[in-house]
Symmetry: C2
Subunit: 249 residues, 2 copies
Amino acid sequence: MRWLKLTVAYDGTAYAGWQFQPNEPTVQAALADAWRAITAEDATLTASGRTDAGVHAVGQVVGVSTASQLPHERLRQGLNAKLPDDIVVTEVVDAPAGFHATHDSLRKLYRYQIHNSRVRPLMDRRYRWHLPQTLDVAAMQAAAAHLVGRHDFASFETTGSERSSTVRTIIRATVEQGGSGGEQVDIEVEGDGFLYNMVRGIAGTLVEVGRGARQPDWMLEVLAARDRRAAGPNAPALGLVLVQVVYAE
Amino acid sequence: MRWLKLTVAYDGTAYAGWQFQPNEPTVQAALADAWRAITAEDATLTASGRTDAGVHAVGQVVGVSTASQLPHERLRQGLNAKLPDDIVVTEVVDAPAGFHATHDSLRKLYRYQIHNSRVRPLMDRRYRWHLPQTLDVAAMQAAAAHLVGRHDFASFETTGSERSSTVRTIIRATVEQGGSGGEQVDIEVEGDGFLYNMVRGIAGTLVEVGRGARQPDWMLEVLAARDRRAAGPNAPALGLVLVQVVYAE
């Protein structure tokens, strides 16, 4: 068997998330269909993690073991020819034997995308949360800085999930303003792991600070509470993008 | 009567162009419906020019005269609440009495957007022409420079149109590479007027140079020929964006 690592980008708008569900369109099912068409194999496609309904990816990583001897580039082109236009395999490379995309990941980078303008977004309308009220980006940045380090992020975990620990290490948490009129506000959070809905909870909490309802240091109280009710609401799925997953070389 | 100037952005993918056509979805018809819903008027909405099926705009300008006394911002918000999500009114301002969006325009800026990568575009798939073969952007830039000035652009006019003159002045013609991996190649052309399909013909001709089929100085021959058959093919509609229309103050 050959072990491969696929980098996959998708527009999550039309999907019930990454993970296979009966009678729902999922990214995993679409990729499995394309894989079957190219290799005639019913492969197990394992992603770095699930993404929820409506969440996007530019750098989701998928591991697969295969008997196919097709060269990387032929596989990539073949899969893309079979996939719908909202899913693209951007890279196919060799992976170490036994590669597991979920368990072997070292860290992940997510971006939460906001369109901050009185005017709703056009080209980005599927990819950015529209917030018409002007956000204080410096205050959001100050609040985000409190997230960096090893913390208990229980306040940012949607209840119902079962994890042995809610402690994670955030390497970087930044808020940057871009676009021709400063209308793009991008929150980037990089860490060694994420709890369920953690980035959407962080984004919703930072927006509370950005709109002036809370001060930046409120983030310290939210973290200390270890209670989901202490944080802001979850930001909507459509603004969330899984940007990159990093593995050991 | 009050004269107003609307700036309108749209994703042209779902439309048979700007101009009203029976039994076809058009941007003009969608805007007229929204206008009627807000003002109860059957207004004449005059754009700076038609855009073809599939062509986009971020800065189309539309003139209208109205008896409505609604403030600019109320009109803008009301129209956007009624419009589908692929059309947005970005600005409403006063216009001089008798304002005519077509005849009064001084110059226009178009951008033709290419996605130049072996991998097809994802987020930009409705807005960029995918060309997998690596383009020589410097050669394209050298060819584009020949367009600047007052020239007869008959070689870039799709036959069938009736114009008194095919002479136009191009103020700027640039080719720039952007995006994280240099995959975005943007052609910008600014001029005092454009012939039918002129920017798509220019883009298709520049791509012939970019892929090495022709040298940059071929552009001089194409211009001199004054014959549509001398130029490259029209680039597809989906990459074309009307960026800005400038009027006298």
